[in-house]
């Protein structure tokens, strides 16, 4: 995927209302009227969010001029999840390794201190 496509996806996902819209769409395709209901927002305000989501390729809208049903487009979300997971996994693996290493180092240091004391006696 192109970096700018990814940016577009992330920018679209950065808004809580748009994420809520996507969550609702995960239950199945629906129209603008249905989508506006839980958000306490006007049709045009919802349409604005839908346009951002559409431009990012996160949703698709039907051609029927009256209802224009919306549905999720899976590919970009999968890519975003994959990217976020890869980066997170990188750090998680490092910090897990740090945890294990610190334990090992701690035990080793305590042993050194004990041995030094023993030698003094």
């Amino acid at each position: 995927m192109q970096a700018d496509t990814l940016s577009l996806t992330f920018a679209a996902l950065a808004d809580p209302t748009r994420r809520a819209i996507l969550k609702r769409l995960a239950e199945g395709p629906t129209n603008v009227k249905e989508l506006s209901r839980p958000f306490d927002m006007s049709g045009p305000a919802v349409c604005k969010h839908l346009r951002v989501l559409e431009r990012a390729g996160l949703i698709r809208r039907g051609r029927d001029a009256q209802s224009r049903p919306c549905q999720l487009e899976p590919a970009p979300i999968k890519q975003v999840v994959a990217w976020a997971e890869a980066y997170r996994a990188l750090w998680d693996a490092s910090f897990d390794r740090l945890d294990a290493y610190l334990q090992q180092l701690h035990v080793q240091r305590r042993k050194e201190v004990r041995d030094a004391r023993r030698r003094k006696r």
């Binding site: 992330f10 920018a11 995960a26 899976p74 975003v80 990217w83 976020a84 750090w91 740090l98 290493y101």
Partner: protein
């Protein structure tokens, strides 16, 4: 105080059953740092840390594929054993900005500011790690920081569920 660039973003928050001095050492002494930092299976042929304000940090990671990626940075703040902050970027063998091989979509040339804070606890040490993008113009480059927002609590799970759901549903969707 927040400098220019993107908002700070929590990368990790965990507790270790060891004294804070030891955790600080693991971050600032090269022999220790090389033992844990980085992706699995890399060799660390070069590893230099000069942990004082203005001091440099430099690491080579050689991947099993032979590819070499360096982490190059400068310490902005060092307060032993409580806090350290450094700014880094990824460069290749010729010192040119590059993307780490595991993250091909990485916005090349972007600098990440990493802040490590160590707090003493009854059990040992609590470590928090924050990151943000240094370049104000790159603050809008979401792959670096927003992924974390998305990968954070709640949304990460929803995104996973969503992806899982889509995995199963996408085939049945009308073209």
């Amino acid at each position: 105080m927040r400098a220019a660039g993107s908002a700070s973003d929590l990368l990790d928050d965990r507790e270790f059953a060891v004294p804070r001095e030891l955790v600080f050492e693991a971050w600032t002494v090269p022999e220790h740092f090389a033992r844990w930092f980085g992706p699995d299976g890399v060799e660390v042929p070069v590893c230099e840390i000069d942990a004082r304000p203005g001091g440099e940090i430099r690491f080579h990671h050689r991947f099993p594929t032979g590819e070499l990626v360096s982490i190059k940075g400068v310490f902005d703040e060092v307060v032993a054993p409580a806090r350290l902050r450094f700014t880094f970027t990824f460069v290749d063998a010729e010192d040119q900005p590059t993307a780490p091989p595991q993250l091909p979509d990485w916005p090349v040339g972007v600098h990440i500011v990493l802040t490590v804070e160590l707090h003493p606890t009854r059990r040992g040490t609590r470590m928090t790690v924050h990151q943000r993008v240094a370049e104000p113009e790159a603050a809008g480059v979401p792959p670096v920081v927003r992924h974390r927002e998305l990968a954070g609590e709640g949304w990460r799970q929803s995104a996973e569920r969503l992806a899982e759901y889509l995995e199963h549903r996408s085939t049945s969707w009308p073209g």
